[in-house]
Assembly symmetry: C2
Homo-oligomer: 177 residues x 2
DNA sequence: AGTAGATTGTTGTTGAGGCAAGTACAACTG
DNA sequence: CAGTTGTACTTGCCTCAACAACAATCTACT
């Protein structure tokens, strides 16, 4: 069996990316577990917190996160049961719903995020020289724009228009998680 | 609600990392699905293919992959059921088992990997200038070594000794997935 | 208006994987 | 050598998410 195919230098970068991703998420797990949140739930909360009027369409959440639309339905179910999010009907499209962050949800995010950011600093950004970090972001942005063109759905800030067709993609905004 | 905490520049890099990871894995999914493999299964197969004598201890697999030990048990169950892997008792430690890649497993990996590498080239490494890629690998390695010190468990090449205590970590070898 | 087709969101089913408890063995202690 | 402690897996139970089928609604075309 030829071994060259296993040691192809291209897979090195891919392997490193995967390991870094997995390792960092491992580091975040304890904090999230302490607040009874899964990664997917935290992701949804943060995206809502960063959105105008703390709301996003269910389908926009699905586009932004790693979740399918049914996954979003269930995550929002859980968050709603815990009082962190509510559903609000879209006035102009009766099929649509907004997930809206409640006051309790905002508090929860506000309480977790500083610790979470500290973990990122400790295990990731703090390990890198400023120019290395900048270069990394440039590089990642290049790849992101290639593989994930829809990652900014619903963040144009025109919430009033968000009930209409999904607006055009605007300048990419790096999502939080 | 103060918004600074949401736009903290530190989380930008983290968000990009997550999006790149998710986006790339999305690109790999069709190929793996065509071969009836999950990402975890493919990961295990590749790690076995890269290991001396195509074998690793179950616990080493757990340390290298994102899986827990019970997760490894079940993944190997499936791979064994499909004839790609067999379990082999460790002669010197009767608690231990090796997962060993069968001929069929080697063939399967050999058939998939070129296509997989091509996808990596198309969506990731091919998008970057050589020096940008090298810088990325350096940066990722720095973070990886911090968050994932055990990622090279069982790759020292001393298979005969692998039945004893897990050997010292040697020079990190970027894993494939 | 009227119907075809697309889109939004929810639900039933299936399967993956983590945790904790259990079994079997190894290594250390006195 | 008996007893304790630690390690290597496995198994039962649970949570979670994807897929597909479905209901409701919107859009476009005639």
């Amino acid at each position: 069996m030829t071994k060259e195919v296993f040691t192809d230098p291209r897979i090195t970068a891919m392997g490193l990316l995967n390991e870094v991703h997995a390792g960092l998420n491992e580091k975040f797990q304890p904090l999230l577990a302490a607040h009874k949140l899964s990664l997917a739930e935290f992701d949804v909360l943060i995206r809502l917190a960063r959105s105008p009027r703390y709301r996003l369409r269910m389908s926009d959440l699905a586009a932004q996160t790693i979740l399918s639309t049914s996954g979003v339905t269930r995550v929002v179910d859980r968050l709603e049961r815990d009082g962190l999010v509510t559903r609000e009907a879209c006035p102009s499209d009766r099929r649509g719903f907004f997930a809206v962050l409640t006051e309790a949800g905002q508090d929860r995010v506000e309480r977790i995020l500083p610790e979470h950011n500290a973990l990122i600093e400790t295990w990731f950004t703090g390990l890198l020289a400023p120019e290395a970090l900048a270069a990394l972001e440039d590089t990642l942005r290049t790849v992101r724009d290639a593989v994930r063109p829809s990652s900014t759905a619903g963040v144009t800030g025109e919430v009033e228009r968000a009930c209409l067709r999904r607006p055009d993609r605007s300048e990419p905004v790096a999502a939080s998680e």
